[in-house]
């Protein structure tokens, strides 16, 4: 998997952003909320790499700090949704009776667009990082349930499951040691995509003003503040936007890369493609 440049690039971008945001307080003396009214809406310069905003705060520092919220929300939502979806998906796929109940609930939830559902939940719960995580986790798990269920249905009639039953293994053992390891790849791939979608959704919620507290820098908050200055100070909205684009793009590419790495057919095709191109240039 690491052989492909695309995968290396996406891992590189993600690592860079993560390390930058974790170590931000070590290498920058300016606080992300340091206000200097004399430096309002300055364009990018060597002193303020990404310019300053309407309160004179440094956009570079704020963009870096904002990654914290996005990455935390994305990661935790991905874990929560994956966990919930995997558990329900395993049960729905394995037990026929539970299937009809769980899948009707999932169908019902999928009838709402995930973002609208999250929006309603955040509006009800109030905007904080924890509530956003709850809302997004709740909005994203049904998709995972579907994927896991489909994978379980594929695997559960294979002979080694039957063999496990004849050796007297309990359902729990069959689900955790026979089925789960064999459907891990779609779960990991979907988990990565959920990560990306959660970052986007968090930004959207913050942009709509019902996300994280406006005093905390997040990419969505910054974009929202920037929208009235978009013609005067385009750098104000470009850089936080770029943060979202890069992170989401990297995650999606990583997801694709993982899928290819797990899929034996894709591997074969890749080899074939290489062969063909070698023949062409030979």
């Amino acid at each position: 998997m690491l052989k492909r440049k695309r995968n290396l690039l996406s891992i590189g971008i993600l690592l860079l952003i993560t390390i930058a945001t974790i170590t931000a307080s070590l290498w920058s003396q300016t606080s992300p909320s340091f206000i200097d009214p004399t430096l309002r809406l300055l364009s990018p310069s060597s002193e303020h790499w990404f310019g300053t905003d309407h309160f004179g705060r440094d956009i570079f520092i704020r963009t870096i700090y904002a990654a914290r919220v996005s990455l935390i929300v994305g990661a935790v939502v991905a874990v929560v949704a994956t966990f919930l979806g995997t558990v329900t998906g395993l049960i729905a796929g394995y037990y026929k009776k539970a299937d009809s109940i769980i899948m009707r609930i999932v169908d019902g939830m999928l009838a709402f667009p995930a973002l609208i559902l999250a929006l309603a939940l955040v509006a009800a719960l109030g905007g904080s990082v924890a509530n956003i995580i709850i809302a997004l986790g709740f909005a994203f798990w049904p998709i995972m349930t579907r994927i896991v269920r489909a994978a379980v249905l594929q695997v559960k009639n294979v002979q080694y499951i039957e063999a496990a039953k004849t050796t007297g293994a309990s359902d729990f053992v069959i689900l955790t040691t026979y089925i789960l390891p064999n459907i891990l790849s779609p779960i990991i791939v979907q988990g990565t995509f959920t990560f990306a979608r959660a970052i986007l959704a968090e930004a959207a919620l913050s942009f709509l003003g019902i996300g994280v507290n406006p005093t905390t820098p997040t990419w969505g908050n910054m974009l929202q503040e920037a929208q009235i200055y978009i013609s005067m100070a385009p750098w104000f909205s470009i850089f936080p936007g770029l943060g979202i684009v890069l992170t989401v793009l990297a995650l999606n590419m990583l997801g694709d890369g993982i899928r290819d790495a797990f899929d034996p057919h894709a591997k074969k095709q890749l080899k074939k493609r290489k062969k063909v191109s070698q023949q062409k240039y030979a």
């Binding site: 002979q159 063999a163 390891p181």
Partner: protein, 332 residues
Amino acid sequence: MSQELLRIQDLEMHFPIKEGVLQKTTGYVKAVNGVSLSVNKGETLGIVGESGCGKSTLAKTILGLLKPTSGDIFYEGESILNYNAKQMHELRRNIQMVFQDPFSSLNPRMQVGDIIAAPLKVYKTTKNVKHRVQELMELVGLKPEYYHRLPHEFSGGQRQRIGIARAIALEPKLIVCDEPVSALDVSVQAQVINLLEDLQKELGLTYIFIAHDLSVIKHMADRVGVMYLGKVMELSNNESFYQNAQHPYTNALLSAIPLPDPVKEKERERIVLKGDLPSPANPPSGCVFHTRCPRAQDYCKKNVPLLETKEDGTAHTVACFFPIEHAEQIQK
């Protein structure tokens, strides 16, 4: 007469065919349709038949993987169909299975040692699981060093040995072998069959050996049963079966065995059955074989032949109104 280990009585396994939006049952696939058999301790009962005749369904029912529609199964004289979960769990120790496809019957993500250890861990029979697994691996002819390898690193024959090791791990009394060699090369087949025979001698196992290869059955089985469309057509001891087959279907099957001698092979007279295997969802009336039987008469279309013991008192039984007589066979 040796002791009876397992008896199957009038076993029926019908699968509903569901159609339409409302999943209404529109019919049944009669995979096993009234089978009565018994297996004695220490013997090998061979079961042959075309694909789709219900052999594997029968195996799954014996193992309790499927709940039969009607009929009964007795293990050591006790009906096992009404066993509760705990009793069933105990029974599973005594009845194990070797599967047909050595590629799909092993979990690709588990190490070989763990695959063989799985039943030991469920029943906690031994404290030193690893030692026991290595013992088992040696017993079936695998190097104990292979403990940490994954199934895909093995050949078909080796994988089948892993499957056999798993089946004998709990020291069961009965092993159901569902076409254990049909997915293997001929040379490997012989090895696996010899292994199964050695294990039988060593551990006193009883086998129900399902196959579609009559030569394999001839080599392995003490008694042979022929199945056709979910019914047993003929049941006999090995010798009598191959020399004195009485059912026209058995006769046709036997005539299809190729001979190793090319001269004799050329002279071999083949009985080719006309038509296809009827659908088990809609089996023919009367004798299920009458649509393809060269000896069929009107009587066969209306009446169902039962598997009856012949008057001469041998264990050779046949479900046919017009069996091939012994004299006729000799004439041939």
